[in-house]
């Protein structure tokens, strides 16, 4: 609440709510992930963010048969589900999750300094492995996101590893501090480091639609939108989501399509 510097915690029956004046998070135990991320009352998520293991097949992939060899990661990208949730609020670890009747002891006035919630996603590969996404919300309301992937012997090479965030409406553009143009781990020597502003969500015009738009070694990303799906929201001003690197730079693409759609 406004008068505290703490997080307001709502121990729901199928979700955990974490709120400050500016940020509102809903972590859904049913959906197995972050269902709602609202900043200044603007929703940033259309569906829960999930691990992503697939990138759109490139012409070279087709040529060398990589996408055939790695095909089970396409299934894992689309269908892997949350298998376990770990929740800690301040020093209290909740196992099992604090749902009814356990949460009957709480009230609408529960506060904390730190929430840590992890979602294990079990891949639909053979053999299966676990990929864990952890959200740590500090008392300022900012979230630190960590992802941990446990490889497994016998699995084909990973086409990509990351997280996919689907926004409710199109971004008008994004700004980042990182490398110029489109870069990849093996194709970034020619890039210049700097702040770049991109209008809209451009798709590189390769003849056959394929993986595109990657930006390596990024320190900071700011995505701008000016529309929402909330039918009662008539505000058309810009609003932004800011993503910063933690210990290492991050790589991202910001596209109007998923890998499967490309």
């Amino acid at each position: 609440m406004d008068y505290t510097n703490k997080l307001h915690i709502i121990y729901g029956d199928a979700a955990l709510g974490v709120q400050t004046k500016k940020f509102q998070y809903i972590f859904s135990y049913e959906k197995g992930g972050l269902e709602s991320l609202k900043i200044n009352n603007k929703e940033w998520l259309y569906r829960i963010p999930t691990p992503t293991f697939w990138r759109a097949t490139t012409d070279n992939d087709r040529g060398n048969g990589f996408s055939v060899k790695a095909a089970q990661w396409l299934g894992a990208d689309m269908f892997s589900q949350c298998s376990k949730i770990h929740l800690t609020v301040d020093d209290q670890k909740f196992d099992p999750l604090p749902i009814a009747p356990f949460n009957n002891q709480f009230s609408n006035h529960e506060y904390a300094n730190l929430v840590k919630i992890s979602f294990d996603y079990k891949t639909t590969t053979t053999p299966a492995t676990i990929c864990t996404i952890t959200y740590v919300i500090d008392s300022s309301g900012h979230a630190t996101i960590k992802m941990r992937y446990m490889g497994k012997k016998g699995l084909p090479s990973l086409p990509v590893l990351g997280m996919r965030f689907i926004m409710p409406t199109m971004a008008t553009g994004f700004e980042y501090y990182g490398l110029s143009s489109e870069t990849y781990p093996d194709r970034k020597a020619g890039a210049k480091k700097g702040v770049f502003r991109v209008k809209g969500l451009p798709v590189t015009k390769y003849l056959v639609p394929q993986e595109n738009g990657m930006h390596m070694d990024t320190d900071k990303l700011i995505i701008t939108r000016n529309t929402s799906l909330n039918n009662a929201d008539r505000d058309t001003n810009d609003f932004q989501l800011e993503i910063n690197k933690t210990d290492k730079p991050l790589n991202f693409s910001c596209l109007p399509y998923t890998a499967e759609e490309l």
């Binding site: 709502i10 729901g12 009814a100 609408n108 529309t227 909330n230 039918n231 009662a232 929201d233």
Partner: protein, 626 residues
Amino acid sequence: MKANIRWLDDPETFRVNQIAAHSDHLYFKNYEEWEQKRSSFIQSLDGKWQFKFSNNPQTRPLDFYKTNFDASDFDFIPVPSEIELNNYAQNQYINTLYPWEGKIFRRPAYSLGQKTDRSFSEGEDNTVGSYIKHFDLDNSFQGKYVHVFFEGVERAMFVWLNGHFIGYGEDSFTPSEFDLTPYLKEKNNILAVQVFKHSTASFLEDQDMFRFSGIFRSVKLLAFPETHLMDLALKPTITNDYHDGIFNAKLSFTGTKDGYVRLKIKDINGQTLLDEEHNLTSTITIENKLLENIHLWDNHHPYLYQLFIEVQDSNKNLIELDSYKFGFREIKITDDKVVLLNGKRLIINGVNRHEWNMNSGRTITKQDMKADIQTFKRNNINAVRTCHYPNQIPWYYLCDQNGIYVMAENNLESHGTWQKMGEVEPSYNVPGSLAKWRNVVIDRARSNYETLKNHTSILFWSLGNESYAGENLIAMNQFYKSHDDTRLTHYEGVVHTPDLKNKISDLESYMYLPPKEAEKYLKNNPSKPFLECEYMHDMGNSDGGMKSYIKLIDEYPQYLGGFIWDFIDQALLTYDPISGKKALRYGGDFDDRHSDYEFSGDGLMFADRTEKPAMQEVKYYYGLHK
């Protein structure tokens, strides 16, 4: 008396100064009005009302009901309509969880031994609509008793007239009626209504649907002549091996008791079967009138008789003409637990139906209703469960006229209080066995019964949906049993408390029970007839394997049939900026969280009222046992 916003927090306060529920008979000044279907005793208040939206109770206008209030900053809103679909508030679709999941922590008052709190009267999510309507009385209303009649308001409302507090009502889906007479003027009356999205009633209205608020059904004024038939209770029964009928009726009058009452029953050819005169008294009882060689009412031949009640003054001048169309039909359970309608086995080829229009939500029109009846007829659908609330009154008249068997369900679902994460967890269930939550649910049963009791099409009273079971559901069942021996009661939620099955529901009702499980029950000396109150969940591209249910009809006479879930997708027609076209949108498409997303689209019909491809399968299987 003064309005008290704390009523929102109190499950024991659900109606203040409301007129007791009564029958929905039509009344006119004379036969000419009846022929034209226009009563000069009714004045519609539908249309543009002044409106102010507030995000929460703290910011609502406090003095807006006063006659000197300056409403120049109010907007206009159509009545009836949903506040959300006028884009004042966010659309939200959610199934079993409460709409405040993950946002506000709430428990129903008294459910865990605690007292009432201010969770709703100070609720951050409790949006408020303040409505003002200026009206002059029709000439025909001058000097008469006048009531205001709200057919449906979600979810709690306070009413004022000309600055005076009139009353308070909950139960979104049954009429709320108040006496305006003491404060009425001929000209420029100011009716003020404040509608709250949430109250303790929200715990009882957790239906799987878009959560709207507002005055979403019609509002009208009712004028009463010096004598008025306030309530009519018909009881037509059948005798002599289904050849003859016995007519019973109880008429209750208000106003002057100096005059006469003439009662006539006519068949569809205008032949008079009964014609009798009584001296006017408060209550007139017509007992055991034998009507020979009657036509029975059923799906194939929905034969209705015309009842007229002429209210006359002491000079035998007609002052009010009341009209009802009723049929003769009999539903009973045999010793072998087979349900018979008019002596023949009844088979329910049914659908669950939410009231829905892709543009206006639960504000639907008579055209929508007529289209749905035509769809029923075209596809051999013979029954409807009014899931999970009483429907608009004209719907029941259409079902009478078209022979549609109705399971008339109360406005009750408390799903989120007893089922969480798919598990049965009733620690804070309401109504349960909590004394403080008893009267409110019995009132819902009473309003449903008293309003709709004369509709021939209603064969079953359904206590509600997915609310678990305890003493209060037993009390609701008892209410129907003590008021109506011509219909059966239904409730599915007692499956979780099997010890109560002998006290709740005449039917063994399940939802989505696999055919093999149903067969186990049917094979094993069933103690009640068996019904699937929901089955063939028709979400998206679905509805396969219907044969496995339909063949139970041939194999087990105790299998009554079922109601498909459900009739029409709940989706909203919305402008899509990407394609530049209008597109149907569902849960989650309005930034609404938590949502249950595409679960809102389970219909045999798309939301635009076109049939899904699966409908031909329904038509085929439901055609096998027409």
